[in-house]
Amino acid sequence: MQQGLKEKAIQLLKDGTVDRVLGWKTGEFFYDLTPAVFRTPEEVEKDFVFSVFSGANLSKYLIAESRKGGKVAAFLKPCDTYSFQQLLKEHRILRENVYVVGVQCDGTCDIEKIKAAGCEGVTAVREEGESLVAETLYGEKTIAKKDALLERCTVCKSHKLVVFDELIGEQGEEQDAGRFAEVEKLEKMTPEERYGFWRGELSRCIRCNACRNVCPACSCEKCIFDNPDSGARNKAAADSFEENMFHIIRAFHVAARCTDCGECSRVCPQHIPLHLLNRKFIKDIDELYGEYQAGADMDTKPPLMDFDKGDCEPSVVYKRGGEKA
């Protein structure tokens, strides 16, 4: 796969279709792939990497890249194309300056899960069919790829690429892999248990703002959390209220625009399951206002910018799920 992408990038640069390519290169560690812009075929040959760790969603970078003049090619996986289309819908990306190369994907992996599977001192990981071979300081170890997938990939919502100029691999289909199962589990708990669960998770937040930085939906050019005078830019969360408020409002700001790409949870250094907040909104919207997938098309109205005279009353929340909900 990597060779195919490399050749495509080099070809696009050589024939002048684009003058930059947005892809991934190795960061601090081999599993830490960071988005990077390549300007020459030589750079691509040297640094371009595509592997099971190419999880980073490149669509957000196109907001800035598409405005720098010239044309940029970007490699987007199926879930990334949803974010891309959502940004197009919001007029954030200049479509004419972007050449989208769709890449079919069979899941990206989480290094923490590989480590947890008993691989210590991992120096490289390669794919061999359905399994991953981890080269470690103590020899090679093989684990099943499905055990090392990122959470979002285990419940992948779609293999369909909703927008592309060119496709590498096969076009796929939307699927239902039960991504709301975790949310349902939480809904079945008592309020006390839920409160305990979320305090345990959110109290780990160090307010590094990684979830904000990576989120394609959370892409204002000016943000209150960058303003040192706002009083809201605490480096470490001051108390439980701050943690709750930050995450409720973060999730609310992207409600109905979140495509559930799962980047927030992937980048969280404290491993807080932030996608569970976003998914709760998606699930509520699906149940109360009809199924809606952000980024799936260009013409439907987002549920929070729309209404129906027959909408349920907010009191529906008190009735739902009986005593326990």
């Binding site: 909104f281 529906v316 929340v317």
Partner: protein
């Protein structure tokens, strides 16, 4: 807030200028009583209520927050309350999901002619929140006055 050793909740009521705010006025001129715990904040339309305002009210010491707006279909700006209805439904559901008592938040539609409904709603809401006790799950200790 503790008064003579007894818990007295602080309730913030966001009232739409065109209906509930006048409804509150009407209940006053009709000599209908509602508890003094209710602090009314006038907003131009129920859809002016940013979800952040509700959290902010809890932070600054509210034990319950209620939003009163025009009945659906009667909005002064035609459609504002329809948007507010969707937003509040999602926000309340999220607060419940985080384990915060759902009875602390409420939306009621009160027209300018419904002074009686306003007083009754407030009486009932204050009772409910008194039973729940002080807001502990969404409080900010830095803002605490106790």
């Amino acid at each position: 807030m503790q008064v003579n050793g007894e818990f007295q909740p602080t309730i913030v009521a966001f009232c739409c200028n065109w209906c509930s705010y006048a409804g509150a006025d009407l209940s006053g001129t009709n000599r209908l009583q509602y508890p003094a715990n209710v602090k009314i904040i006038r907003i131009p339309c129920s859809c002016r209520l940013n979800p952040l305002f509700i959290l902010r009210a809890f932070q600054r010491g509210a034990d319950g927050v209620i939003l009163c707006g025009c009945h659906p279909g009667d909005c002064h700006y035609t459609t504002g309350n329809y948007y507010a209805r969707r937003r509040m439904t999602l926000l309340f559901s999220m607060l419940d999901y985080l384990g915060i008592e759902k009875e602390r938040t409420r939306v009621e539609w009160v027209s300018a002619a419904e002074g009686g409904k306003f007083a009754a709603t407030m009486n009932e809401f204050v009772q409910t929140v008194t039973k729940l006790g002080p807001n502990r799950r969404l409080e900010d200790l830095r803002c605490s006055k106790d």
